[in-house]
């Protein structure tokens, strides 16, 4: 039997039972939405609307700035109240458009001029860029960029990532169960744009019902799409690890999936691509999981971009007392939020409300050389040695032993019994290395 595996990784309790069987619930858009101009990796968008202006559902309100950027659209119809500043999990603060929802849901988008199958790949990619579709797996990389590989990097394999390896999160699982046709159609569109021969959907073995449902959809339609069921392991959903698990190809250091002929898209992205190219609907809402022992009724929601996080939590019965952390994303790579007083953005794949007992962290002590971090590192780095060198400010050595290849998945810190924040040391080393290299380049000039 073929084993779909990658070396390293960890296997935390997944806690997916909290929401796994809860169908996606559409949350009606609130009265006021703050639509952030920084929704994704890359440059924030430029606002296109002025206060007082009326906007329609799906109307573009933010113009992308540069290639790695994506358009932003209004999720509701209503009036632009003003331009504001909102907290952003990574940037600190950023510009946003405050929209008053008039509740009329007046549509401002139409399907593309012709069915997707009759359009040129180039046109489809343009439409996706216009629709503001970004990867919904976590990094929110603009999808049109991934679908425009340079000519000298032909893509032969498209992998759809339905792995959802972060503990607690289940919204991708629900999407595969509830919209299997659209997942498959999205994959077919991506495959056709890239002209790839092979297409795979990877679904971890703890979601075998989703894998079965997707397989059933493939029987009648065109084949050439294969369902791959890797064993449960974090970070299976990381591109390089998923590509290795599915195809045994290794993305070279500093390289991209296209260097080995692969492109990976999340299943949520596939659905968004399908919505944009079939219905013409821009990316204005997404599925996400509100979960953790700290929230009253954990749920999977379908919510409008710009909805306040507090409204999402309220829709789940509110927070329980004893909630100490609220995380945007999963427990392994998500960002702890200081406040719920901020809007959801395209990268908000979940809100995890943790009680003290769920966030156990051992007291920090010296490294006991147990080697757990080395066994856990999916990039085959030596986290404890990089951390030790970082403490000594020896960043040349950090570079030599591969610090730059760290993808910050957190497996090392997760597995350290001495409570050493290994991944933070490596992040520090990475930024110091970047500075060092910039300085040296300048000096060389």
């Amino acid at each position: 039997m073929r084993l779909f595996e990658f070396p390293g990784g960890v296997h935390p309790d997944d806690h997916k039972e909290l929401t796994r069987s809860k169908p996606l619930e559409a949350l009606s858009a609130p009265e006021l939405l703050n639509v952030s101009m920084a929704q994704h990796l890359g440059a924030p968008a430029q606002p296109l609307v002025k206060p007082g202006e009326r906007v329609l559902v799906g109307q573009k309100i933010g113009e992308p700035r540069g290639f790695i950027s994506a358009a932003v659209h209004s999720p509701v119809s209503g009036k632009v109240k003003r331009l504001t500043q909102v907290p952003h999990p990574e940037l600190g603060r950023c510009q946003a458009v405050l929209i008053e929802n008039d509740g009329e849901d007046e549509r401002g988008y139409q399907p593309p001029e012709r069915p997707w199958s009759e359009l040129e790949p180039k046109r489809l990619v343009e439409l996706l860029a216009e629709a503001g579709v970004v990867g919904l797996g976590g990094a929110t990389f603009p999808s049109h960029v991934k679908l425009s590989p340079p000519e000298n990097k032909p893509i032969d394999t498209v992998i759809l990532n339905g792995v959802e390896c972060e503990p607690y999160l289940t919204s991708d699982h629900r999407l595969m169960l509830e919209r299997p046709d659209d997942v498959v159609l999205g994959l077919k569109i991506v495959r056709s744009i890239l002209g790839a021969k092979q297409a795979l959907i990877a679904v971890e073995s703890n979601k075998s019902d989703a894998a079965a449902k997707l397989s059933a959809k493939l029987i009648h339609g065109d084949s050439g799409i294969e369902i791959v069921v890797p064993r449960v392991r974090y970070p299976q959903g990381a591109e390089k690890q998923l590509i290795y698990a599915c195809t045994k190809r290794r993305v070279p250091n500093g390289g991209l999936p296209m260097d080995v002929g692969c492109v990976v898209h999340n299943v949520g992205t596939a659905v968004a691509i399908r919505d944009a190219l079939v219905d013409g609907r821009p990316l204005i809402s997404r599925a996400l999981t509100i979960t953790g022992m700290g929230v009253d009724t954990p749920k999977n929601l379908l919510a409008a971009i710009g909805t306040p996080l507090s409204a999402l939590v309220d829709a789940c019965g509110g927070l329980k007392s004893g909630t100490v952390k609220v995380i945007s994303g999963g427990p392994m790579m998500g960002i702890a939020l200081g406040t719920l007083d901020q809007p959801m953005i395209k990268s908000t794949g979940g809100l995890l409300c943790l009680t003290a007992s769920e966030t156990f962290k051992p007291e920090q002590g010296p490294c006991i050389r147990c080697g757990r971090c080395i066994r856990a590192c999916p990039m085959r780095l030596q986290p404890t040695l990089i951390a030790a060198r970082t403490k000594l400010d020896d960043f040349d050595e950090c570079l030599r032993i591969g610090a730059r290849d760290c993808m910050e998945c957190g497996c090392c810190a997760y597995s350290c019994p001495a409570g050493i924040p290994l991944v933070q040391y490596i992040k520090l080393a990475k930024s110091e290395i970047a500075q060092l290299q910039r300085r040296r380049k300048e000096e060389a000039r």
Binding site: N253, G338, L340, I368, M379, R380, Q382, D405, P417, V423
Partner: protein, 342 residues
């Protein structure tokens, strides 16, 4: 919006951790050693209990005093000193005098660990450094083994004056007559397994040590690589020699059940701090320890070689680590670029 900003803790990801901590790991090892330690008390009586208590107590107190003296944070609560003391006791003769326990504990926690920088910094296994120090400083007391209280009625004659270990008796025979004869006190393979023999306090019961080792494997405190390659190498090499010349070399089972092989392979060689960090390195380390044990036992000046073998193995760990570190995922160094596509 209802939540005040200060409500939540910040803090970087990952927000969850595996439940093990340094202290818990030390405790698991202590728990795994307890059956063998208690069996030693059963066999050798009150003095064995005293040795256990003294070594552990001295180790903890001395480490606390040392940390206070040099102004380092007091971390004696991490359990590593207690474990070192316990391991030292298990490596001493069951009738060791109190002052040997004191000197041993001092050598272990101060000389072998403290001066290197404390937990995680020492190169050599502290308990073994202490044992070997005592062995070469006080050879008489360190080889003065008490007779066990003959469990399971195998009826050994009690010879209070001195009671050689089976390995020592074997070495003696080889030196005097050049061949192996029957061992004194009617030693058999069975008495090796039940602990009816002379030896250190904690190396008596083959089965209880195996049980403790299995517990550590199941709890994933240790990995299989070091014990398996260590014991495997000893069995393979002694087996080979036994086949070549059974008159001079005992069979592998004899080597398995006598001396400190089980204690060493499961509990001393697997010490995280002084063993390699990768699976490949651990295999090499285990083979090296096994090889050295056999060489010392069969051809060296000492009847027992496990302690020396592990200490020599410890010295090789930085080198082993250096050459067994994994290659960064996707690294194309030294590989044709084509392979990345295959």
């Amino acid at each position: 919006m209802s939540q005040p900003a200060q409500l939540f803790h910040a803090g970087p990801s990952p927000h969850i951790r595996q439940p093990e901590s340094t202290r818990r790991i030390m405790l698991w090892v202590i728990v795994a050693l307890l059956p063998a330690a208690l069996y030693g008390v059963y066999l050798f009586g009150a003095n064995a209990a005293l040795v256990l208590v003294l070594c552990t107590g001295f180790a903890v107190v001395l480490e606390a005093l040392w940390q206070r003296m040099i102004g380092r944070p007091m971390v004696v609560g991490d359990g590593s000193a207690a474990l070192t003391g316990l391991l030292l006791a298990l490596n001493l003769p069951p009738n060791a005098p109190w002052w040997m326990c004191l000197i041993g504990a001092a050598v272990a926690v101060i000389v072998a660990k403290g001066v290197f920088g404390g937990l995680g910094q020492n190169v050599f296994n502290p308990a073994l450094v202490a044992r070997v120090f005592l062995l070469i400083s006080f050879p008489v007391q360190m080889t003065d083994y008490a007779p066990p209280a003959a469990p399971f009625g195998t009826g050994a004659a009690v010879d209070a004056a001195s009671y050689a270990t089976p390995l020592a008796a074997m070495k003696e025979q080889l030196l005097t007559s050049g061949v192996l004869g029957p061992l004194e006190h009617g030693f058999t393979r069975l008495s090796g397994i039940t602990g009816n023999m002379g030896g250190s306090l904690g190396e008596m019961s083959f089965l209880l040590l195996l049980l403790g080792g299995a517990f550590l494997l199941v709890r994933r405190v240790i990995t299989w690589q070091i014990p398996a390659s260590f014991i495997g190498t000893v069995v393979a090499l002694t087996g080979l020699m036994h086949v070549i010349d059974p008159a001079r070399y005992a069979d592998p089972l004899f080597h398995l059940v006598t001396g400190g092989l089980m204690l060493g392979a499961f509990f001393m060689a697997t010490d995280y701090v002084t063993s390699p960090m990768t699976a490949k390195g651990q295999l090499i380390f285990g083979v090296l320890c096994g090889l050295l044990t056999v060489v010392i036992r069969l051809w060296g000046g000492y009847p027992e070689g496990v302690s020396f073998a592990i200490l020599l193995g410890n010295a090789a760990v930085p080198l082993i680590d250096r050459y067994t570190m994994p290659k960064v995922f996707g690294s194309t160094r030294g590989k044709p670029a084509k392979e990345a596509r295959a």
